[in-house]
Symmetry: C2
Subunit: 228 residues, 2 copies
DNA sequence: CATACTTTACCGACCGGTAAGTAACGGCTC
DNA sequence: GAGCCGTTACTTACCGGTCGGTAAAGTATG
């Protein structure tokens, strides 16, 4: 909100810059949602500026450029993945429980507020060379973490007779797809969906069939992490 | 189709019209590949024209507009899905075999030449209202067809205890994701990937576990169907 | 000449991005 | 406490470039 201008400001001094003290955070969050809905190329800086009630140069006061904005959002999404999935799962020794933790925590993240962010992983084409390399590297690290769990299961003879790369991508796709279809306001309750997806995923790769699971992740608040 | 109406005129002289006789088809195929790689909004009509060795107005002689081009490609993708998946699966009575047919045929379609097309399902934002409604309706029909198979399995008590909507979306995501990661030139052979994905999918939703499958789909050639 | 196809030249709209100015503060001097 | 100054947080006005799309004039073939 502009402080005061000729247009309207009869109010007694409305606080200088900060009426919400986290303007940058709001910009990143709004942009993430818009890019998620319309795609990066189809979302203009003007539209983003309008959405946060600024002019375009006003927006450029906070962000350096469109690519940098996208990169910041993607980096935040990867941070979230590391903090909410990898951090919890990497301490689990037993392979099946670890796999279950990865899937359920990732799914939980997607059904909650971070849904818009995770899908941004797709928009790598909008980044510069160096930015793209960094995001790709982090994505590969996450993928390898998942596949290692499947390899561990295979070493114990508990994995279905499938290639672990194929299996890892399949599970990833299943979970990622959640952000395409799951609606918070819909018929399906988030916890049930997370449980079902986890069951299908684990049952899909385990040699025997499935097992009723443990490892229900705690809720997570994307805003608390301070996007940007 | 414009120009020389007859196909494959075996005249020895170099036809002034041009050296490939199915120009419109090439335009659609090239555009599909480019939009798949860069996204719809980031792909300009000029770039498409260049790629098929035309100027922009030359391209507009064949296509009515950018939206219509996207819509034609998406419609073709849905046609392909109906012809190569639904047509084969709908004649299978037994629910598990039908499910297996859907997944394996869809996966096969994605690992082969139609990979670029199927992902275009994502670019619905680029369509007009009426176009989007039509594509969405066809997508929903396909989804319902898949879910019905899961419902049939559930009626026989052979489905894992999960919501069939969740299960259908999960399988769909798993299969769709193939186009994001599978590379024809890569280490993994298409038939193996299709088999593994089918195993994981069916094993993931079946109550008991998995069964070694039948129903390996025949190869399909997207170009033979005559895109456009 | 008619049809089929392709070209050059151009349109207004919008793109990402910037230069330059300014209103409102907090802090400083006197 | 009056006057000023630097910083923060924006604004209006504008840039060159590209976008989707078209008008109109060719050119080759039947």
């Amino acid at each position: 909100m502009p402080r005061t201008s000729k247009t309207a400001a009869p109010t007694p001094i409305v606080k200088p810059g900060l009426f919400d003290d986290e303007r940058a955070g709001k910009i990143y969050r709004t942009a993430a949602q818009m890019i998620y809905e319309k795609g990066f190329a189809a979302t203009s800086m003007n539209e983003i500026a309008d959405a946060v009630h600024l002019t375009k140069p006003g927006l450029y006061y906070y962000v350096k450029g469109k690519k940098e904005l996208l990169f910041a959002i993607m980096s935040f999404a990867m941070d979230l993945l590391d903090a909410e999935v990898v951090a919890h799962a990497s301490v689990v020794e037993e392979p099946e429980a670890r796999l279950r933790t990865i899937v359920s925590h990732h799914a939980r993240l997607l059904t909650h507020e971070a849904g818009a962010l995770a899908i941004l992983i797709d928009e790598v084409a909008g980044l510069s060379e160096v930015q793209r390399e960094q995001i790709t590297r982090r994505k590969r690290e996450y993928f390898d973490f998942l596949r290692q769990s499947l390899d561990d299961l295979a070493a114990e003879g508990r994995l279905r007779d499938v290639d672990t790369t194929t299996a890892a991508f399949s599970l990833l796709g299943m979970v990622m797809w959640l952000s395409r279809w799951y609606q918070t306001q819909g018929r399906l309750n988030a916890e049930t969906v997370v449980r079902d997806v986890t069951e299908i995923a684990v049952g899909g790769v385990l040699a025997g069939g499935a097992a009723s699971g443990v490892a229900v992740p705690k809720p997570v608040d994307a805003r608390a992490v301070g996007l940007g």
